[in-house]
């Protein structure tokens, strides 16, 4: 009985303290979700801009499915989903107190993010080489798509690069988390929070891949 009274859950339920968690989550997790909510709205703005500009310029919009390398990007999608799985494995290891496993899975998640960025850089290199600039269309690309709107390049790079910057930030965030784990300064909650960020980046990519690459 005494143990039950001392359990923090019981104390919170019956006598809410000033530091109680009204939504049942830690402050850090709450803050990350709020950030993700606002960050999600930034992505929504960019994606909605892409859709609105495309629908408004249907005649001059180049066909993304013939310009973009779909198999390569599908592979990238696969890699990002895999890195989400290694992230949940890292969290599971953290819950079990398995530090070696936690370090291993965090490193694998970082590797997934790094491969994703490498493939995206390769994709950009080829698109720019073919003449798809963020602000203009030139050379080979213009010859193949005469009269194409330069808005495609502008909105394509805006969406995918904004996402790429999130992956880069995520890899750095994971690296810092790994460093703190190595020094013994970590908690299950901190691993869950970095996981929330990483899964969000994966979630946004699922939407971007469908809207920009597959239509």
């Amino acid at each position: 009985m005494e143990a039950a009274i001392q359990s923090p859950e019981m104390v919170h339920r019956h006598h809410p303290l000033p530091q109680a968690q009204p939504f049942g989550v830690t402050n850090g997790k709450f803050a990350m979700w709020l950030f993700l909510g606002s960050d999600g709205m930034s992505f929504m703005g960019l994606i909605a801009t892409y859709v609105a500009l495309r629908l408004g310029n249907l005649a001059t919009w180049p066909d993304p499915t013939t310009i973009l390398n779909i198999p390569l990007t599908a592979l990238n999608t696969f890699i990002l989903i895999c890195s989400s799985v290694t992230m949940v494995k890292a969290f599971a290891a953290a819950q079990e107190g398995n530090v070696a496993g936690l370090k291993k899975w965090l490193a694998f998640t970082m590797l997934g993010g790094t491969i994703f960025l490498g493939i995206q850089a390769y994709e950009y290199y080829h698109l720019i080489h073919e003449g798809l600039y963020p602000w203009a269309l030139i050379g080979e690309f213009l010859e193949k798509n005469p009269g194409a709107s330069s808005l495609f390049g502008a909105t394509f790079y805006a969406c995918t690069c904004f996402h790429g910057c999130h992956v880069l930030s995520g890899v750095i965030y994971l690296g810092l988390t790994l460093l703190f784990v190595t020094r013994g300064r970590w908690s299950t909650s901190s691993i869950e929070i970095v996981g929330l960020y990483w899964h969000f980046v994966d979630l946004v990519w699922i939407v971007i891949f469908t809207i920009i690459y597959l239509f």
């Binding site: 939504f23 989550v25 859709v51 597959l214 239509f215």
Partner: protein, 98 residues
Amino acid sequence: MASETHKHPNYMAIFYTLIALTVVELGVAQLPHYVEGSTRIMIVALVALALVKAMLVALYFMHLRFERKTFVILVSFPLVLAVILIIALLPDVAGFGH
């Protein structure tokens, strides 16, 4: 606390579902090349598939399925704003083509 004590969701099952849905998406995207006039069906199917995938990530990988209902409502609110954004852009889109 609740999220730390619940049983693990089957992460690998979610992973295989996500991969399977991605393969289906790639197949559906090819539909207009084979069936004439199926572009609209393709768009609706692809958006629906993407939404299902996004939901799976949020519910299981981000543990939203195991949070309190009030918290889920709170963090889902940006989705309401997304709908408002789409409605706000509709007149623009309708006016462009003409």
